[in-house]
């Protein structure tokens, strides 16, 4: 060294003579002891730092590291451990060793002892952290130096010291063959948490501090994130105990309380557990403990909960919407599809729906048995039949209203309690549809419901209410599978409404049609619209004919006016007007019209033939009606009075016969029939209205009885008296009522025929496009094509295919691997 002495002097600290490691370490060790006994303020940082620096400079950093570690291990195992072990008093020993610990000591004892233990442990841990912070500061140069020379598997001195706390404290035993302190800690915390769950006050911060310690320590010095002591030594036990606790709690609740209370309790517990994670243990556990509680209180108990006496059925029966909401909320937590609840709801809807269906069947089926046993004369039986039909109509209306009410009820439950959940909505729709389609007469009943509303229901309603009613009808239609059958009924009912002018408002009728168009498509309403078109055309025709007659100049005050409806024959279900058992030919018997009537009849035929050549008119006399003026001499208090009488065409023909007779001249039933050529059954029915019904007794019958029999004589009733000017003669069975069994069979047969055509058409259309196709595919496609109209029976499709093959539209492909067909052009 070529340095002046003076300089060398100033360079103290440089090139220091060899440092004696042991002496220097002695200084440090003494200081560390002071730090641990909280006397740091007496120590000089500079001195300690300098000493550590010197040691490192002399390449003794590694030794220093180990000395420090040894020192800490000694300190922890002697001083700290002793202090902690001292707090494990008998109540805690009982708790940590045996299973009966919770029973053998009082809660208060355990709480105090536990808190004492927790507090000491927390204090030791925090002290350790603070002291190690100070040590690390003093040893900064060593820490820095270790960047150069450590093989990095060795932990930093701070991490090492934390590991020592784990090894020397947590992994030590409270006494030989005793319990590991970490286990004591876990058990004490779990015990305290149990107290908390039982509603006792505990020191949450104290537990949190200890949990914080467990979260800061790792299984090994490598400090792998998944190996935190918290995750290894606490959390699994916590979850396990919690699962056991809630399993029992859930079972107890199911037994002891009602479903509503259970839901509230479960919700409270779940919230409580997440609060606990936040306030007492670690937020990292929140999702796991929730899962545990959900498993125990919900997932495993949902079925039991729903099926309780006070379960979902009860809640629905008693409109317990809030509780239903709770059930929903609970299940939604564990199952996005809400499987159990959905299942339960579907079942309840179906049960209630079945009940509705059964009521309707019972109401409609009960009277005939009663009437069949009653054979006290034809008349009574007939009246019974009429009552039965009426009752059926009522049943039909009730059925639709019940179904609508059912749907509405569940819709509101769905909205309020089930948070408008999509899955449940789908299930509800499906079950309502099931209910509707499980009922054999649904198509007819729905049509009747609309019919009833068109005739009467909408009379006093505002536009909005009417619209709502129509909407309801459409809604039921939406669920209906056999839309073709509905169409048949609707046409029939509509036909009667239009021809008999029963409809309250043609506008509303048209609204309904346009709604159906939107809902079911163009093809569905095509024929219905054609009916309306016929009506409009007929009006024009009637007007045209009147103008034509006026032009001819045959001004005749007595001339009979004609109002006509020309109906396209395929569009209108005219059989609706025929009674049961009458076949078509019989209905078209040629009536004998009196001259005036015959004249305008032929007059109109001529007029029509001029307008539309090549069309054949068939008179549907059974559907006509007539307005007449009739004067009765003693009608108004013995004075003559002229009444406006409205009656059927038949009625008119009968009454006209008496125009040419004196009052005392009778006509027998047979005579009337010969003169008019009205079919006997129709004749009897009309005579009944004219001679039996008290308000329209224009004729007197001899003998006086209800029943019309062969040989009965009829006179003009010159004693007729009524205060009403306009008299309408009721025609028996003109309204739309539920079909009788025979009618129904007929409708079904017709329907099957038309289905057959629809299927054939569909099959041909498909085959024309595809040329050849396997059997299975053809069936599937046919089903798809027809699904908007009805759900065809597969056997029926097969038969139709057979028939098409016979008629050489299709042929079988012989050597195809699967049964297939080929289209023949």
């Amino acid at each position: 060294m070529v340095l002046p002495r003076r300089k060398a002097n100033r360079m103290q600290g440089l090139n220091v003579p060899d440092v004696d490691f042991e002496t220097t370490w002695g200084v440090l060790e003494k200081a560390f002891l002071e730090i641990h006994t909280k006397n740091a303020s007496a120590l000089s940082f500079e001195e300690l730092y300098r000493n550590a620096y010197k040691i490192v400079l002399k390449k003794k950093g590694e030794e220093l590291y180990h000395k420090v570690a040894d020192f800490e291990a000694r300190w922890l195992s002697s001083e700290v451990r002793t202090k902690i072990v001292a707090t494990i008093t008998p109540p805690l020993q009982l708790l940590t060793e045996g299973n009966g610990g919770r029973l053998l000591s009082s809660t208060a004892e355990r709480r105090t002892a536990g808190e004492n233990f927790l507090r000491t442990l927390k204090q030791s841990w925090e002290d350790h952290g603070v002291c190690m912070g100070m040590l690390t500061d003093v040893l900064m140069y060593m820490v820095k130096d270790r960047v150069y020379c450590t093989d990095h598997r060795q932990p930093s001195i701070f991490a090492k010291a934390m590991g020592l706390f784990r090894d020397q404290i947590l992994r030590s035993f409270d006494r030989p063959n005793g319990t590991m302190l970490a286990e004591c800690l876990t058990k004490v915390i779990l015990d305290q948490i149990q107290m908390d769950r039982d509603g006792e006050k505990i020191d949450q911060h104290l537990i949190k501090a200890n949990v914080y310690m467990l979260e800061g320590l790792y299984q090994s010095d490598q400090e792998v994130e998944e190996e935190k002591l918290y995750l290894k030594m606490f959390e699994p036990y916590f979850l396990e105990t919690s699962a056991a606790f809630y399993r029992e709690e859930g079972e107890r609740l199911l037994k002891e309380s009602d479903a509503g209370t259970y839901c509230k309790e479960a919700k409270r517990r779940i919230d409580e557990e997440s609060d606990r994670c936040r306030s007492t243990i670690s937020e990292a556990t929140t999702s796991k403990i929730q899962r545990v509680v959900e498993d125990e209180l919900i997932r495993h108990k949902m079925k039991g909960l729903i099926e309780m006496d006070s379960g979902v059925q009860y809640m629905i029966d008693n409109d317990k919407l809030y509780e239903l909401g709770l059930v929903f909320e609970l299940e939604a937590r564990v199952d996005p599809r809400k499987g159990e609840l959905t299942k339960a709801i579907v079942k309840i809807v179906q049960d209630m729906g079945l009940a509705i269906n059964r009521t309707a069947e019972v109401t409609s089926a009960a009277p005939p048995t009663a009437a069949a046993q009653d054979d006290a004369g034809e008349e009574k039986q007939k009246a019974g039949a009429a009552r039965q039909i009426n009752q059926q109509t009522v049943a039909a209306l009730k059925w639709v209203e019940d179904v609508l009410a059912l749907k509405e009820r569940f819709d509101s439950i769905w909205k309020v309690a089930f948070n408008s959940d999509q899955t449940i909505s789908t299930a509800l729709t499906r079950s309502i549809a099931d209910v509707i389609n499980a009922f054999g007469r649904s198509s007819e009943y729905i049509s009747l419901f609309i019919d009833e509303n068109m005739k009467k229901g909408i009379r006093d309603k505002t536009e909005i209410e009417v619209d709502a009613t129509l909407e309801q009808a459409i809604m039921t239609l939406r669920y209906l599978q056999d839309k073709d059958i509905f169409e048949t009924y609707y046409k029939k009912h509509l036909c009667k409404r239009l021809l008999l002018k029963k409809s309250q408002s043609i506008d509303v009728e048209k609204q309904m049609i346009s709604k159906m168009k939107m809902e079911l498509g163009n093809s569905f309403t095509l024929k219905l619209e054609a009916m309306f078109k016929d009506m409009t055309l007929s009006e024009d025709l009637t007007g045209g004919y009147r103008a034509h007659v006026t032009r001819l100049g045959q001004a005749d005050a007595k001339r009979v006016e004609l109002s006509i409806n020309v109906l396209t024959s395929m569009t209108w279900p005219l059989e609706a007007f025929r009674g049961a058992g009458e076949d078509e030919r019989e209905g078209r018997s040629n009536l004998i019209f009196p001259g005036s009537i015959e004249r305008i009849k032929t007059g109109f035929e001529r007029f029509y033939a001029e307008k539309y050549s090549g069309r054949k008119l068939t008179w549907q006399t059974n559907m006509g009606d007539a307005d007449m003026k009739a004067t009765f001499p003693k009608s108004r208090n013995g004075r003559p009075m002229t009444h406006d009488i409205n009656c059927s065409t038949y009625g008119m023909l009968i009454l006209l016969l008496f125009n040419d007779l004196r009052a005392d001249q009778p006509l027998s039933l047979e005579e009337i029939q010969t003169k008019t050529n009205i079919r006997e059954s129709d004749l009897k029915r009309n005579l009944q209205s004219l001679a039996v019904a008290p308000k329209t007794r224009f004729l007197v019958k001899e003998p006086m009885s209800r029943e019309i029999k062969a040989g009965d004589k009829f006179y003009y009733n010159d004693n007729f008296s009524s205060k009403i000017i306009k008299i309408k003669v009721g025609v028996v069975s003109a309204g739309n009522k539920v079909e009788g069994d025979k009618e129904r069979k007929e409708t079904e047969k017709k329907n099957n025929d038309s289905r057959g055509f629809a299927i054939e058409a569909a099959v041909v259309r498909i085959m024309k496009q595809r040329k050849d196709l396997s059997h299975a595919q053809l069936i599937t496609e046919t089903l798809t094509v027809l699904s908007s109209q009805f759900k065809p029976d597969v056997n029926m499709i097969k038969k139709r295919i057979e028939s098409l093959i016979e008629r050489e539209y299709l042929e079988r492909i012989e050597d195809a691997p699967v049964p297939s067909y080929k289209y023949l052009a």
Partner: protein, 291 residues
């Protein structure tokens, strides 16, 4: 920069204001004493500049707890002055070296900056040493600096070694004739090893076998320091070492590997002779390349 230390410091902004604070000692809340000198300094600046001061002044220890702060440091006074100046001036000022060697001073400043973890000053000092050592006019001064590096800096920190080694290599032949240098290298086995490996590397730009480069900070240095066993080289290697005869590439490789691997157990005298041989070899090798 040096001129503006007037009291009208605001002219020069914050930078000059800080300088002024140091000279005037205004608002000083701490006195640092060292070898009888004292400096009125400001805790905030010390805290900001050095993590060590930061801990010293804010921890629970005496320095932070005592109200009338006087801290006695046991450091190289000249270097400490440079350190304090750096904290206030953000520069490297070797005027504190006085008439002493600037090269040595750079090493001393590096050491103290390392101790107090003032990294910027550390790199400034290293830069200074680098620029000074590139044009050594004075071999004794260089050797003194080498000695200081060996004696007062962290042996695990090779920053300064990396600076001086190329210079040693460059001037190896000259240096080997100086007793001071021999003394130095023989004392510093880590340096020897580094030198040898550098020679080995130079031999072929793309060695077919990459030998583990002996780093001074690898644990092997310990075994070198502790070793007493004598080792003999295989004959061809020794032949090559003495620079005799033609060398096939295979033999050159053998030489390189032998040096690097086995040298960890060299005895003093062997090291020296190898170095000498290496120097000769280096010369020869350069000749061959030139030809």
């Amino acid at each position: 920069m040096d001129g503006i230390t007037s009291s009208n410091s605001r002219v020069g902004g914050l930078f000059n204001g800080l300088k002024d604070l140091l000279t005037s000692g205004r608002h000083s809340d701490l006195t640092i004493t060292c070898s009888g000198e004292s400096f009125k300094v400001h805790k905030v600046l010390l805290d900001a500049a050095s993590p060590v001061f930061s801990k010293m002044l804010s921890g629970p220890f005496r320095e932070a707890v005592e109200v009338h702060g006087i801290i006695e440091l046991h450091d190289d006074l000249d270097a400490l002055q440079a350190l304090i100046a750096h904290i206030y001036h953000d520069n490297y000022d070797d005027s504190f070296a006085g008439e002493g060697s600037t090269m040595c001073f750079a090493v001393r400043v590096y050491a103290i900056a390392d101790k107090y973890e003032v990294t910027k000053l550390q790199s400034l000092a290293a830069d200074k040493l680098k620029s000074l050592s590139k044009k050594p006019k004075d071999h004794p001064e260089f050797i003194a600096a080498l000695n200081l590096i060996n004696g007062c800096t962290n042996p695990n920190d090779s920053t300064l070694d990396d600076i001086v080694l190329p210079q040693i290599k460059k001037n190896l032949t000259t240096l080997l004739q100086l007793d001071d240098f021999k003394e130095h290298v023989l004392d510093n086995r880590a340096l020897n090893l580094e030198l040898l490996s550098m020679l080995g590397e130079k031999e072929s730009p793309k060695p077919t076998i990459e030998p583990p480069r002996a780093q001074p900070n690898q644990p092997s240095t310990y075994s070198l320091a502790n070793s007493t066993s004598v080792n003999t080289y295989p004959t061809p290697v020794l032949q090559i070492m003495s620079g005799a005869g033609e060398h096939k590439p295979v033999e050159r490789k053998a030489l390189r590997v032998a040096r690097l691997v086995k040298d960890t157990r060299l005895e003093r005298t062997e090291t020296l002779s190898i170095l000498q041989a290496g120097a000769t070899y280096e010369r020869w090798y350069t000749d061959v390349q030139g030809a």
